[in-house]
């Protein structure tokens, strides 16, 4: 390793730091003022890239030159800025006071909508943009060639930092933004129209996302996966830098850029692992990141299941439901049984998330991590140890439980939005490992041939097995929720200081909740692997996590039985509607948004609430 190599790597790191900073800066700006973590920020980035990759070549045809190129980039960012305004007016301003879980879900609904819209508008192929005029020739540094466009990027980061700094320090808008970041109500009491301020902030945030995306076009083809990959990185940058802090984002981006550039030498399979370690380190020392300040956690931000008296008809009802479910193979065809098996598995998956969110108030946005760990644990046992199903499924459960213990160990210090973002980041890292560690995990193709033994092969048998296992697991989790453990979690959810003052070990209970929820989701994942016969990285992806959240939301977070109903409804709908339309994600996204806006109690919750009102 010589000096020139190190220099080139460092420059590469600076270039990616710049790109990352420009995008993350918009996210942190928007969060600072609105207190919303805008999941759709990555979508805005993607739209910026697609817009630029489409627009800039047309402009260059009319007049070829550097000025045209850069004007096209800025124009694309402006277009995205306008989309940001629409987003604020149509959606965000309706959810500023909603619990953060709903805010994240609603903006994830927007992510889904954009995914379909982008394909419809720009087509399904990746689009590589033109090279930047004037920067096509690499330059030579210590005898090595380095793309000159990367140098332009390296300069762009500090330019944006300077521009944002001037905006925030030298303009009335900027002063108001900084004031609102600290105390929105006081800003209103001084006569400032928050709506305008927020719309303006969203414009700036979206503009920066669009700029970040547009600047990528000469180096990366615009593609439909950019939204989620960039949002996970932005989450890391903003959390490490401190939510709402622009200089923090810059510093974090610089460090992460270098870590990625040099980390590749240590962990060639997943640079994200290094980033993850950094994040763990920073958050262990400074729970609010470099320059973040402690969040004022309001009571309105937790939603959960109330402590309730056990329903007396409960056990009888449950037995009746079990009998009916067990009788299903008598009338159902194999396809229906497959769907029913998956619904049971997803119900367990969603229910384990309910333990974290509904009971513990721990908003996990990366529950797929445990589902995927369970599935991979089982599949790896089959592939490498030639284990039978009866060994493989418990291995999956154990791996996921261990994952819950590990991830939980450093997440229990966090709360609120930090927790949500970190769980998501943890899941993304596992996703990256599964994707990149091809030798072991099979990479993108995953692992196939994960079948149950011959006697359990018929759909009816596997369905009954799944029914038995999930029923036992659900029963166990319910007992856990009704036990003192569950009450302790609820107490900590409703008021952490009060729970601590009566002597509850809040962190230990939360850690155990992660272990239990991880094991539950892992069991579901392992069963899923054997139901499908294969595993692939998508089981660890953000959409899988959001599926679990959607099931919770559908069923109602306040209701214990909500996730079961939610799993049935979502899976059945998906099975029924998805083959009929290319707009499944758009429909799902709009449904999630609608639910958050008008139906936040979910199906079961609404029914029960109606009953209470009438009583």
């Amino acid at each position: 390793m010589d000096l020139s190599f190190i220099l080139i790597q460092a420059l590469n790191g600076l270039a990616s730091a710049s790109s990352l900073f420009i995008t993350a800066c918009g996210l942190t700006l928007v969060f600072g003022v609105t207190r919303i973590v805008n999941f759709a920020h990555g979508s805005l980035y993607m739209v910026g890239a697609y817009t630029a990759a489409t627009l800039v070549p047309r402009l260059l045809e009319m007049s070829y030159g550097p000025a045209t190129f850069w004007a096209g980039i800025v124009l694309s960012a402006l277009v995205v800025g306008l989309i940001g305004i629409l987003l604020e007016i149509l959606l965000l301003r309706r959810i500023y006071r909603a619990p953060e879980l709903f805010q994240l879900l609603a903006t994830f609904g927007v992510v889904l909508v954009f995914q379909d819209l982008v394909v419809q508008i720009f087509g399904p192929q990746d689009i590589l943009g033109p090279r930047a005029p004037g920067l096509r020739q690499p330059i030579e540094i210590l005898g090595r060639r380095f793309p000159s466009y990367e140098l332009a990027l390296i300069i762009a980061g500090p330019i944006v930092l300077g521009a944002v700094w001037l905006l925030l320090r030298r303009t009335r808008f900027g002063i108001l933004v900084r004031a609102a970041t600290q105390d929105r109500d006081m800003v209103a009491a001084l006569g400032v129209n928050q709506a305008l301020l927020f719309t303006g902030t969203l414009f700036c945030g979206a503009f920066l996302a669009g700029l970040g995306g547009a600047l990528q076009i000469p180096r990366v083809a615009a593609n439909t996966g950019m939204d989620l990959s960039v949002i996970a990185e932005c989450f890391v940058v903003t959390v490490v830098g401190g939510m709402g802090s622009v200089p923090g984002a810059f510093l974090a981006a610089l460090i992460i850029g270098q870590l990625q550039a040099f980390g590749i030498l240590i962990f060639p399979k997943s640079t994200l692992v290094v980033v993850f370690l950094l994040m763990a380190l920073v958050l262990a020392i400074r729970p609010n990141g470099f320059f973040g300040r402690p969040e004022a956690t309001g009571g309105s931000h937790v939603v959960g299941i109330a402590s309730r008296a056990p329903v007396r008809s409960g056990p009888l009802l449950m037995i009746a439901v079990l009998v009916v479910l067990a009788a299903l193979p008598l009338i159902a065809d194999p396809y229906l049984l497959k769907v029913a098996t998956e619904i049971l598995i997803l119900a367990l998956f969603a229910f384990s998330l309910q333990l974290l969110i509904g009971v513990g108030g721990l908003v996990s946005f990366g529950h797929a991590a445990f589902f995927g760990l369970g599935a991979y644990g089982a599949a790896l046992a089959v592939k490498w140890l030639e284990a039978s199903m009866f060994v493989a499924v418990p291995s999956g459960l154990l791996l996921a439980g261990a994952g819950g213990a590990l991830i939980g160990a450093f997440l229990v210090r966090l709360s609120g939005i930090y927790l949500a973002m970190m769980t998501l980041a943890a899941a993304q890292i596992l996703y990256a490992v599964a994707f990149q560690w091809v030798d072991v995990t099979g990479g993108d193709n995953g692992i196939i041939g994960v079948w149950p033994p011959a006697w359990a092969g018929p759909r009816a048998i596997y369905y009954l097995l799944t029914l038995a296992v999930t029923a036992i697991a659900l029963f166990g989790l319910t007992r856990l929720i009704d036990a003192p453990f569950g009450y302790a979690l609820r107490a900590a959810r409703d008021s952490e200081p009060r729970a601590e003052s009566i002597g509850l070990a809040v962190r230990r209970h939360r850690w155990l909740a992660f272990v239990a929820a991880g094991a539950g989701a892992g069991l579901a994942g392992a069963l899923y692997a054997f139901s499908r016969g294969s595993v692939d990285p998508s089981l660890l992806g953000i959409p899988t996590s959001v599926d679990a959240l959607t099931m919770l939301l559908l069923g109602g977070i306040q209701a214990l039985t909500g996730p079961l109903a939610g799993a049935a409804v979502l899976h059945a709908l998906r099975d029924w509607i998805m083959p009929l339309t290319p707009f499944w994600r758009l429909l799902l996204g709009l449904s999630i948004i609608t639910m958050v806006l008008i139906f936040p109690r979910g199906l079961v919750g609404t029914v029960f609430h109606g009953r209470e009102e009438r009583a």
Partner: protein, 236 residues
């Protein structure tokens, strides 16, 4: 002459706990009215309810002839009703000058607008620390800044919540002078106080509330002379 601020039947609750039980009072233009009551009587709640910072109901809530019930906080402020919270709520990351800038609104017809220069004359302490950030200021300095910031909006009336609380005794005198100076500029003030000596020094009228209900309304001097009433409502 119509009152500047006309409140009648004001009720407010936190969750299920009702705190205000139908308060009625008026604030006349250019006058200082003291809202007097013990800690927890409901003074702060009254002020917040008027500017819509908390939900409230009222039979009549009118400012300068505009019904302001249900109006958003910023619109009420734009009409010229300023609010200075008891916890001051200075933007601690912003400098003194920037704090003032946040409060700035356009001039109102017929009156010369407040400028930072004029305010620095009113609060000479602040003049020496224009570039200082809010978190580097003492409680009394923050209180001055909070008032100055609200004045930047050129209000016709200010709701001033316990300005004398928690500040150094030497500053209390300066605060009283500032209140008189604002009054002489034609700004009406609704002053929430439990320190009756301070109220007596600046207020024309007294409204005494106890557990969310109005106990007494009348000239400040009469309240001062009625020792029995003072003992009953304030314990002094």
């Amino acid at each position: 002459m119509n009152p500047l601020l006309d409140v009648s039947g004001l009720k407010a609750s936190y969750g299920r706990a009702q705190v205000l039980f139908g308060l009625s009072f008026q604030l006349e233009p250019g006058e200082v009215t003291a809202l007097i009551g013990r800690n927890g009587a409901g003074k702060t709640t009254t002020l917040k309810a008027i500017v819509s910072l908390i939900p409230a109901q009222a039979d009549r809530l009118v400012f300068k002839g505009h019904p302001i019930s249900g109006l958003s906080t910023y619109r009420i402020a734009r009409l010229g009703l300023g609010y200075v919270p008891e916890d001051r709520r200075i933007f601690t990351d912003l400098t003194v000058e920037e704090n003032l800038e946040v409060g700035r609104q356009g001039a109102r017809p017929g009156r010369s607008p407040w400028t930072p220069e004029r305010l620095f004359r009113l609060f000479p302490n602040l003049a020496t620390m224009k570039r200082r950030r809010g978190n580097e200021m003492s409680g009394g300095e923050q209180q001055m800044l909070s008032i100055a910031r609200t004045l930047m909006g050129n209000p016709d009336a200010i709701l001033l919540d316990e300005p004398s609380e928690g500040i150094a005794p030497v500053l209390v005198q300066a605060m009283a002078e500032a209140v008189r100076a604002m009054k002489s500029e034609g700004v009406a003030i609704l002053l929430s106080e439990q320190n009756w000596a301070f109220a007596a020094a600046v207020a024309d009228k007294a409204c005494v509330i106890e557990r969310g209900e109005m106990r007494y309304q009348g000239p400040m001097a009469d309240f001062m002379n009625d020792e029995a009433l003072r003992r009953q409502t304030l314990g002094v």
